[in-house]
Amino acid sequence: AAMAPGRKITAKIKKTLPVTGPQAPTLSELMRWYCLNTNTHGCRRIVVSRGRLRRFIWILLTLSAVGLILWQCAELLLNYYSASVSVTVQFQKLSFPAVTICNINPYKYSAMKDYLSELDRETKNALETFYGFSEGKSKVRRSVGDGNGTGSELFQHIPLLKFEDFSRTVTDLHSGQKRKIEGKVFHKDSSIVNSGDSNDIIGFQLCDANNSSECALYTFSSGVNAIQEWYKLHYMNIMAQIPLETKEKLSYSADDLILTCFFDGLSCDKRHFTRFHHPLHGNCYTFNSGDNESVLSTSTGGSEYGLHVVLYIDEADYNPFLVTSTGAKIIVHDQNEYPFIEDIGTEIETAAATSIGMHFTRSRKLSKPYSDCTETGADIPVENLYNKSYSLQICLHSCFQKAMVESCGCAQYAQPLPAGAEYCNYKKNPNWMYCYYRLHERFVKEQLGCQQICKDACSFKEWALTTSIAQWPSAVSEDWMLRVLSWDKGQKLNKKLNKTDLANLMVFYKDLNERFISENPANTLVILLSNFGGQLGLWMSCSVVCVIEIVEVFFIDSLSIVLRRRWQKAKKWWNGRKSKQGGKPCPEGELERQGHENPACVDEDLPTFNTALRLPLPHESPLPRTPPPNYSTLRLEGSAAFTEQLPDTLDAGPR
């Protein structure tokens, strides 16, 4: 009566919301109960089997079924992130790709005279010194000015060298002296020295400007390579100092390059081309760049309906040392892609009709957990220096340029400028060449980490090209064709065109089928769950409900039984000690709680079928009631011997 209010409330709560523990008093009872009542197959057989061997076999089978389920489900989980590939073909109107066309020669040689005369003189000098090649016999243009032979600082600093005696003695181009040489030797063609060939080797030496003992020697097996490489090095030095506007003027204009243009059965002209300045190829022109207008598309395949251009390749105005081949370079690319014409361009021959049939394929990979590719390049820690969408090529070039600016202090000529940097030239950065070559060496050997940072793009478009060549113009049509084209070229050009100055190019879709190769997730969550369900059902006829049961029985119930046992033991021990000490009576509340946890009390309000229906418990009737049918169908009944032998099965339900 004199209960504390707090205790009153707890008692009330207990009364209305009785928290009962598991019904089984011991763990083994619980297990037995579980096995008999669970929905999984197998467990029940363990309990109802008689004989040790049988029971053992059933335990083994059940355990192995559990093991199989775990193994198979693990496999399913591990294979979750796999992709299946689907190829779809769609016949449709296709957007025409951008076609970038460059002359192989970047700048008009006649216009470049002022800038290159010194370099050319030096080159010719080298040719004469080393190979006895004099200009009189050659076709080399005499237009190069006859300077008065002073020779700049620069060329003396990095002269061409001729090596004798296994690269130990060197003939200097300028002084003609022979001297011993120290330092590391880098061979562009490494097998030459090892083969023991005693032929003279040509190359050049790059030294660290700050520390002249640090030198790198570049040698080439052939003078052709050496001279071109050496020329290019100085050429880049010179070009880096010329502003972009001037360079654009020095190169070919659209009128110069494109003589006739025809697209999709209609005439087109230079307004359909966008100028794009490439550092190594001068002015290039992109057809259908999508800059000013919408992207053109073709709705008919075949050579008549593609792009048909005649290019004017002014062979007479070629730089003899920088480029040694004649023709044009083209690249077919997407409007958003940067044309890496120096890397993947297709060369076009002069005096020929090149017919390029395209076949369009679009691919798409799945990004993150499926494969290591990037959608937009935004997650790559390399700044995109090109004003175009991400590609692996762009990333690698940007990465190298970044490293170049960091370690050499200036930017390499062939790639775009990062913010705040400027192109290397000898006057401002005397050390850059040495630095560049060392850096490039490291880049190629993957020591800069660029190859690790840069990832593939997830989606890309590809135009597979089939290139074939026919003679053009044909022998009988040459005459009128050249006359009319000369007229086309306009009044300012007085000379008649030569057929080796012309290249005919046709770019067209072979068919309008677009192949789209895409990766799709092979598994979805739904399918994974279905597969789980299939596995669980196959081995044990189990479901999520069984899993919940297992959690309930094996974790919650077992734990509470163990805890209850412990608690009772502890209490017993405590009580024993108390009674030993002075026999202080237990508080009533404690007894009450004890009563609650007493399994005997709990049994009273068992939530069985009967209580659920609020039916009175069956009286001790001599005849058993019909048990719940599903689990009991196997049970034998009626024989007293059996019922005595299997008391558990009988008692399990009601208890």
Binding site: S84, S86, V87, V89, F91, F262, G265, R271, S299, T300, G301, S303, A352, A353, I469, A470, Q471, S474, V476, S477, W480, V484, L485, D488, G490, Q491, K492, N504, N513, T524, V526, I527, L529, S530, N531, G533, G534, L536, G537, S541, S543, V544, V545, C546, I548, L606, P607, F609, A612, R614, L615, H619, R625, P629, T633, R635, L636, G638, S639, F642
Partner: protein, 646 residues
């Protein structure tokens, strides 16, 4: 009376169902079903019961949701692709070889003589002012002798005009052979250069196309390049002339097989021009197809490499080209499937004279499943376009469909067929005499985007798409050292004379062979089959609830039962209503459901069941009887619920 008896019996039978009330039925179901959740609802204590009820509902809804997703996935008819690559013995592709030039100039010269003279004279006129300066010299001033000899009627049907663009805003049209200069009355088809500043050409060449309805209805199709204008004009004119020539004559004017195919070797076996099937191709004249498979079995190639492929030596005799018609010289060839028509303009490649061209072939196949997986056609029978190429006895292809579609439109709109495509029934080829406005009609149709889109929409691609991926390489041939004897032998073989009739400009060597891996096949298979669907559905149901189809049937049974209960209740309610009306008000309230259930569950009634057994004089059967609907219900011995109520 009989009917009433029957109803009573039926009612009695119905009453043998699993329960008399919904609750009883539900409890029975939960206890007996094989689905995992419901049993726990009734087996557990009140709180757990609630939890289990909630869980069961949740799982059931999860199952239905996921089933929805699965069925949706199935109905989207996805496909998976499998790729196989390797070498196998395959049919060697059909090889079509043509000359880039359709007819021998020596043969067609009489027909084209007038045209050539016209264009030569016109070119002379056009090229003249470039030296003279800005003023175009008026024609017919002292060159009457030239123009009198020309057949100006041919010219006037389809004239070339010069557009003088000295004054940007008012371009002047100058007809080349006439004196009248007119201002540009009608608009030009292509936009003019209007705001360019740099110095450029002052004259443009254009083709004047007039419809036959009247002289006012003309367009000027102008070209930035005179070379293109001349070629285009010449093609239009020569098409008109040649379309009047009968087919046999045209075949005779083309290149004959024995002249063109000089040597042939397939694998180790020699072959000759007789192994080629002649076909007349409007673009390229006589074409010859090797291994077309029309009459004979297609040849197989069982080895990779050039030694086991086709080797051909061709002569294209470049000196006999029509000068204005085709400016590129070479052989045109194409690899295609057996029994398909070669569309050389689309898929053909060139081979250059004076070279040896080696072509390594990889067969790239795509095998697709038809409807409903993808929108493709197996044989073209379901395409609404009449295939005009069926006269060649070739199979359907999208190119054939597009061309047929165009030709059908052309026949509809212009009233005649274009020379480049086969004719529909009852239509003739266009020519300038019979159809004066055909060039105008053709040009507008060709450049019309709407017509093209119409054809693209009505044609379907084939399900099996085969492409021949070619790796092309070239070398000079014959070498300078071997040139003499090769030319000598080949010339001798051709006409049995010692005159050398061949030169570098005409001779072509071709090697066509399978690469080391000669096929790459992408084949589709259905990603979701009905088996997949069933096993996924079963997996889902099993995963969440441990259920199967039988569980669904059980559930259905319960629903039927509950319907019966409703029927019974309705009947008894109706009965009760009648009786209540008849009688005075019954003093007691009707029994509640729980009371009824209690009454049924009275264990005392159980005796009847067991009591019946000894009466049957049979030994007690071991084991519970198979669970039937009555297993739970305790059958009342005394009057049933209906009787209670009454």
């Amino acid at each position: 009376m009989n009917v009433k008896k029957y109803f009573v019996r039926a009612l009695h039978r119905l009453q043998k169902g699993p329960g008399y009330t919904y609750k009883e039925l539900l409890v029975w179901y939960c206890d007996n079903t094989n689905t995992h959740g419901p049993k726990r609802i009734i087996k557990e204590g009140p709180k757990k019961k609630f939890v289990w009820f909630f869980l069961t509902l949740l799982f059931a809804s999860l199952v239905f949701w996921q089933w929805g997703i699965l069925i949706n996935t199935y109905l989207s008819y996805n496909v998976t692709s499998s790729l196989s690559i390797g070498f196998k013995t395959m049919k060697f592709p059909a090889v079509t070889v043509c000359n880039a030039n359709p007819f021998k100039y020596s043969e067609v010269k009489p027909l084209l003589k007038e045209l050539d003279r016209l264009i030569e004279a016109a070119l002379e006129r056009i090229l003249q002012p470039s030296q003279g300066g800005s003023v175009l010299p008026l024609p017919l001033n002292g060159s009457d002798n030239l123009s009198q000899a020309l057949d100006l009627s041919l010219w006037n049907q389809l004239p070339l005009v010069l557009i003088d663009e000295h004054d940007k805003d008012h371009p002047v049209i100058v007809d080349i052979f006439e004196t009248n200069q007119t201002g540009l009355g009608n608009q030009t088809a292509a936009p003019d250069a209007s705001n360019t500043t740099s110095e450029e050409k002052k004259y443009k060449l254009a083709v004047k196309l007039c419809s036959h309805e009247g002289p006012g209805n003309c367009i000027y199709r102008n070209f930035t390049s005179a070379a293109q204008a001349v070629t285009e004009w010449y093609i239009l004119q020569s098409t008109s002339i040649l379309s009047k020539v009968p087919l046999q004559e045209r075949i005779r004017m083309g290149y004959q097989a024995e002249d063109m195919i000089l040597a042939c070797l397939y694998g180790a076996e020699p072959c000759n021009y007789k192994n080629f099937t002649q076909i007349y191709h409007p673009d390229h004249g006589n074409c010859y197809i090797f291994n077309w498979g029309m009459d004979e079995e297609a040849l197989n190639s069982s080895n990779p490499g050039a030694e086991f492929g086709l080797k051909l030596i061709l002569d294209i005799s470049q000196q006999d080209y029509i000068p204005y018609l085709s400016s590129a010289a070479g052989a045109r060839l194409m690899l295609h499937q057996q029994r398909s028509f070669p569309f050389l303009k689309d898929q053909g490649i060139y081979a250059m004279a004076g070279t040896e061209t080696s072509i390594g072939v990889l067969v790239d196949e795509l095998e697709r499943m038809g409807y409903p997986y993808s929108d493709c056609t197996m044989n073209g029978s379901d395409v609404p376009v009449k295939n005009l190429y069926s006269e060649y006895n070739t199979s359907y292809s999208i190119q054939a469909c597009l061309r047929s579609c165009f030709q059908n439109r052309m026949a509809e709109i212009c009233g005649c067929g274009h020379y480049m495509f086969p004719l529909p029934e009852g239509v003739n080829y266009c020519n300038n005499e019979d159809n004066p406005g055909w060039a105008y009609c053709y040009s507008s149709l060709r450049s019309s985007v709407g017509h093209r889109q119409f054809c693209i929409d009505s044609c379907k691609e084939t399900c099996n798409d085969t492409q021949y991926k070619m790796t092309i390489s070239m070398a000079d041939w014959p070498s300078e050292a071997s040139e003499d004897w090769i030319f000598h032998i080949l010339s001798y073989e051709r006409d049995m004379s010692t005159n050398v009739t061949l030169d570098r400009n005409g001779i072509i060597k071709l090697n066509i062979y399978f690469q080391e891996y000669n096929y790459r096949t992408i084949s589709e298979s259905a990603a979701t089959t009905i088996v997949w669907l069933l096993s996924s559905l079963g997996g889902q149901f099993g995963f969440w609830m441990g259920g199967s189809v039988l569980c669904l049937i059980e559930f259905g049974e319960i629903i039927i039962d509950s319907l019966w209960i409703t029927v019974i209740n309705a009947i008894s309610w109706g009965k009760g209503l009648k009786q209540r009306r008849a009688r005075a008000r019954y003093p007691d309230a009707p029994p509640t459901v729980s009371e009824l259930a209690e009454a049924h569950a009275n264990p005392g009634f159980q005796h009847e069941d067991s009591g019946a057994q000894p009466a049957a004089a049979l030994p007690p059967e071991p084991g519970t009887p198979p669970p039937n609907y009555d297993s739970l219900r305790v059958r009342p011995a005394a009057p049933g619920p209906d009787g209670d109520e009454s």
